[in-house]
Symmetry: D2
Subunit: 410 residues, 4 copies
Amino acid sequence: MQNPIPDYLHEVLDALRDDTSGERASYIPELADADPDKFALAVTTAMGSTYTAGDAQDEFTIQSISKPFAYAAVIMDRGLSHVLEHIGVEPSGEAFNELSLEDGTNRPKNPMINAGAIAVHGLLVGEEATGAQRVDRVLELFSRLAGRQLSIDEEVFASELGTADHNLSMAHMLRKHKIIADDPHEVVSGYTRQCSILVTVADLSAMAATLANGGVQPCTGERIMDSAIAQQVMSVMAVAGMYDGAGDWLTRVGIPAKSGVAGGLVGVLPDQVGIGAFSPRLDSHGNSQRSRLAFERLSTDMGMHLFAPSPGRLDVIDVRRSGVRETFHLQGNVQFTAAAELLDLMAESDYGEEVHIDISRAFSFTDVARRMTLEGLRRLRDEGRRVFLHDPLQSLADPDLGDGTYPETP
Amino acid sequence: MQNPIPDYLHEVLDALRDDTSGERASYIPELADADPDKFALAVTTAMGSTYTAGDAQDEFTIQSISKPFAYAAVIMDRGLSHVLEHIGVEPSGEAFNELSLEDGTNRPKNPMINAGAIAVHGLLVGEEATGAQRVDRVLELFSRLAGRQLSIDEEVFASELGTADHNLSMAHMLRKHKIIADDPHEVVSGYTRQCSILVTVADLSAMAATLANGGVQPCTGERIMDSAIAQQVMSVMAVAGMYDGAGDWLTRVGIPAKSGVAGGLVGVLPDQVGIGAFSPRLDSHGNSQRSRLAFERLSTDMGMHLFAPSPGRLDVIDVRRSGVRETFHLQGNVQFTAAAELLDLMAESDYGEEVHIDISRAFSFTDVARRMTLEGLRRLRDEGRRVFLHDPLQSLADPDLGDGTYPETP
Amino acid sequence: MQNPIPDYLHEVLDALRDDTSGERASYIPELADADPDKFALAVTTAMGSTYTAGDAQDEFTIQSISKPFAYAAVIMDRGLSHVLEHIGVEPSGEAFNELSLEDGTNRPKNPMINAGAIAVHGLLVGEEATGAQRVDRVLELFSRLAGRQLSIDEEVFASELGTADHNLSMAHMLRKHKIIADDPHEVVSGYTRQCSILVTVADLSAMAATLANGGVQPCTGERIMDSAIAQQVMSVMAVAGMYDGAGDWLTRVGIPAKSGVAGGLVGVLPDQVGIGAFSPRLDSHGNSQRSRLAFERLSTDMGMHLFAPSPGRLDVIDVRRSGVRETFHLQGNVQFTAAAELLDLMAESDYGEEVHIDISRAFSFTDVARRMTLEGLRRLRDEGRRVFLHDPLQSLADPDLGDGTYPETP
Amino acid sequence: MQNPIPDYLHEVLDALRDDTSGERASYIPELADADPDKFALAVTTAMGSTYTAGDAQDEFTIQSISKPFAYAAVIMDRGLSHVLEHIGVEPSGEAFNELSLEDGTNRPKNPMINAGAIAVHGLLVGEEATGAQRVDRVLELFSRLAGRQLSIDEEVFASELGTADHNLSMAHMLRKHKIIADDPHEVVSGYTRQCSILVTVADLSAMAATLANGGVQPCTGERIMDSAIAQQVMSVMAVAGMYDGAGDWLTRVGIPAKSGVAGGLVGVLPDQVGIGAFSPRLDSHGNSQRSRLAFERLSTDMGMHLFAPSPGRLDVIDVRRSGVRETFHLQGNVQFTAAAELLDLMAESDYGEEVHIDISRAFSFTDVARRMTLEGLRRLRDEGRRVFLHDPLQSLADPDLGDGTYPETP
């Protein structure tokens, strides 16, 4: 059987291919001369499957899409609180090249505008880091996120460095306010190399899927960052990823995203997928026109929206009574809500001498759900009942009831 | 057994009760004279269980917390596109009382700042609506959201109307720009009544849980709004609910929320819970000091964060081969990611004459997962294999393969 | 002989009459239906001569041109320091209808934007003033400034009041911040009447000439305000009169000015002239197109610019020595500069026993020049010389040398 | 006799010497270590007399006070229209280091903020100018304005260049927008040298007096710039010289001025004086505390205010009739106002056959007054009367009546 997902992605591309509106970026010849008809799409699931369509083999420079991933790098390198002292997390309501810094703190408002991204780059690795070390750091990290060795387009780098007055302006301002310490020209040079890393749409979708998957690269299985860092990066993408149209994007499309001037667009839905798209023509906001439309389509067709409704739940807790035994069968992903329902049922429970929890069909527990379940068992036991846990898959690691005792095994 | 969830909520209150920093709102005597020591917390799950702690019987005026729910009402009444023409969805990066309207459109930036909320109230019901009808509309809707009949505090209303210059100023500006059509004093009077509706923390948690539950009030079971409207409201709360600290709140706490000047705070986590808190002393941003801390604690302790990592997944698809039959067993909530994995396995499948899908242990399917599963079956049948669906719970309504035919029943 | 000044003014009108660009104000029918071809110009000198050309008999509503004169009124009524506590003097860099108030003080930025002008009106007369008293006050003052009894166009007033949402919005905001105390609708009603006062171009030029003349109406000879108030009003017109193009106007035209939406334009050059112009079509900034061009022409043709170069000076001090007598002959207007030169000459003087100052040809002394001259005489006398003052026109009132003694009369 | 003006200036210094509030600039050691007690004042009249008091021999770096004079230089070098295309003239309402450029044009808002001053420096001399040529240009011009050869403090220059990140930031931004073409570091280096030129208070007062005197250095008699350029520079100082307090300064003090971070302050009153002051401690706005107070005192004590009232005028036109002769005697400075009065009298004149104008006691004519007088004579002659001009001092160069004929000489 041929997998219908790539077919669906092809359909998306075909439906949008006729839209030739917008213009390629023109400030350097390498972007101005890009083939405007290129169009590619990739989806990587949090389980590690990648689907592509269109010009998925084509490499393009990552540009501003590097910002969320470099932000992840600097939090790994310097710690979140250090990073927050230097770069804020508020939406800017402004274009990408806004110069103004936060009143009082002089921090760039967030790491998604250029001022913040330059600050991020300047803080990479550590206080005494050289420019080369910072570039090596992002190239190494991005390669692990993509699952393959990436490289830098030196021609794009050289061209961009020749038109870097805006970024140099901001870097000098950042040094003035002691946000960065190194030479502004060295930092901008490094940041420009970061933006010149070559990627495909599948690289982008894999990088984003790592965030979606809580920091574990879903194809290689490598844990690249703590889940708290992935959470921070996705949160900032949600409020500040699409510059001055953050609210419109989050309500309408609902996929935290980041675009690049070469035509790339990356998006992430937590626990679900990373998405990459590429098409060089840009709309008036500087976002890839067809990539943006492809995202809108995925959101609408596939219900891929941060606040999309989940399907109605079936009974996930089944209570059976037989002899002295009352058994609670749990099913599915057990989060706070389900654990709360279990505790409700337990609180009313007075059937027999034994209480059994059967979680053989529950394939996951959040940490809070695990603690709630064990607390319920502890209380029931304290009321004089015998408590049993049926957990053949060992979904509940170390089911200590909080006092060094454990439920019985049926 | 005593339910440990209320115990946990009590622990939260006890841990924070000593924080007496902040001041009550002072602009009207009713708020200035509120008992500053009141403190209450409530959680309602998307399944309809409500847990409370503290002064949960105390009523207080809903104030700005009315904004997201009135926004839901106006979208129901006038349609989303009509509402978007009049009120934007961008973060304001500004305080609640910001006057400025969007350049070009003259729309208030979003429905969470006062200008937007007054516009929302003025658009309620329909073009020819009277002031009384608009007030009736919100009181009726809020009552259904809370699951009980609510009432208006007429003394607070009268006091606030006497200090309404700021809102009157905005209402005149809105009429000037034809955002509202009715008399500005009538609209502000109605909006002030809307803000004077009395609620408890459990009312707030139930109202928010209705959003979390995709528009269905989880206690009464009533579908109050389309899930698309709940999605819109939660999205806007995420970007603009906490005024000028939206980014800090979304990254650190991660619970889309809205506060009121009487000390209330409401929050929502999609598919999981609605949360209500109450404590009259306000911090320097005008948010209830202890309510805010309670939310931070819930986020940290309970992993209640929009971008919180889910637990690692176990195998949800189990493939068994026996004789001519290859069976795919699905388990849990089946969303895009799991359906994609199923299609991957189907695409590689070439074992025998029969393909069986057993979804007896899958307790829910998203719509896209349902369509993906049926499309996979269609393709396998087109390749000449016999396809069977084992769905004793009828999780897949109408499993039409797309051409009027159905899979066989085993 | 026919006076060439009106001829010159006619030439200006004729040269500009073909410019029919711009549009009449359209927000009320009375302005929308004004005869667009009307065009008039008037100049009143600080000595009281008035010259007119074109439709100088036509009355039109004064509109925003009322602002500087109402500002003069409120300073007379309440004192400058009280007024400065409520309304600032900084250029706004913004359009006439800017809402924002100064951070910290909540004052409107200046009395030339609507917010400031409404505050000015609301402060007129005194704390307990009624709306009618405030309107009477401006009508009475404007009439004395114009030198004739003015009246109010009640139809324009009624129409404008029907479209006053913007001003009502600001008035509510001003009351919120306690800048005004009275009912916002009462204040806006009064302010709208103030704007509906009917004037001709000659009324405007006479009103401005009163400022130019240091507060004395040059035709009637009445001192209407202290010169310090005229100084304050002209200063504020210079920095904030032309809204967001203040710098362009002051550098290029150099005549502190104020325009009105009915097509009027008033300007003032200290010590020289007041100018009034009228033509209903407005440019894109809301200023009368042809009136603006007429001012530019006057500035260029006539050297009417605040910083225009004065001609090279001839010798104004003539020293003659004869016998025991050294005589200093002064000529012209004696200001600081000339008095300084006199003191230089006195400091070097050692010719004879007698020092004579002859000011029979000096037609005016500034106060500082008077004090400098008398101080020089005192010092020379203290050195043992006899000092004489020849002042047949009594240009120096009370030439006390500072110690109760006087110079001798020759 | 000892000249009382220096005594007066000493009194001003003595009255203010006890004010030791404020702090020296601290960003470079040379300023941080300046003797904080230095205090000096100088006044140069438009006739070329200079009076000083205090530490008038002390040199300090000119810093931002260089801005208006460099602005004069660039207008001389490139023409006003070219300069206006690159740098605006609007008040900024912002601090000296504001980064933002005008929407649409990307021009710095005015030449008094750093961004504008750097643009001014970068445009000096001509398109192909080197950095050294630009520095030579300002040093040469400033020396001629001061009337003596100035020099550069190389230590201050070196220190400031080490803390130039803010200016480098702006210079890169200016090159991005093609406001400057040369290397940003070269331009900032040159601008920093411009700011490091050493001056005394008398240098400053002489430089400003050149502006007051319409472009002619009043001590050396050299015409340094067209009067139109001096007019432009003084106008811009009036609207933008004191940064964000422009309106307060212009209304209260009324002396267009510019301050420098080393403690200098320069001011100009057209036709009257240039003023220089120096005291290193700065107030919270970055202006020299005691220098500012000295200016306020001069304004109040001496009536030195742009809009200060002039003294009441005596009769400046005296009409005498005798035999066939009617004689108009003119006296003083004849500007538009007086010439207008003359034309009024001429228009009513019908006494005898001869009309005589006696201007032997009028010591100056503005160009427009000269043209008005001659036009009046022409019209009277055209009516058949004989016209005579008595002008022994040749105040009216070339009294051509407009048709090649001249008035008779009595």
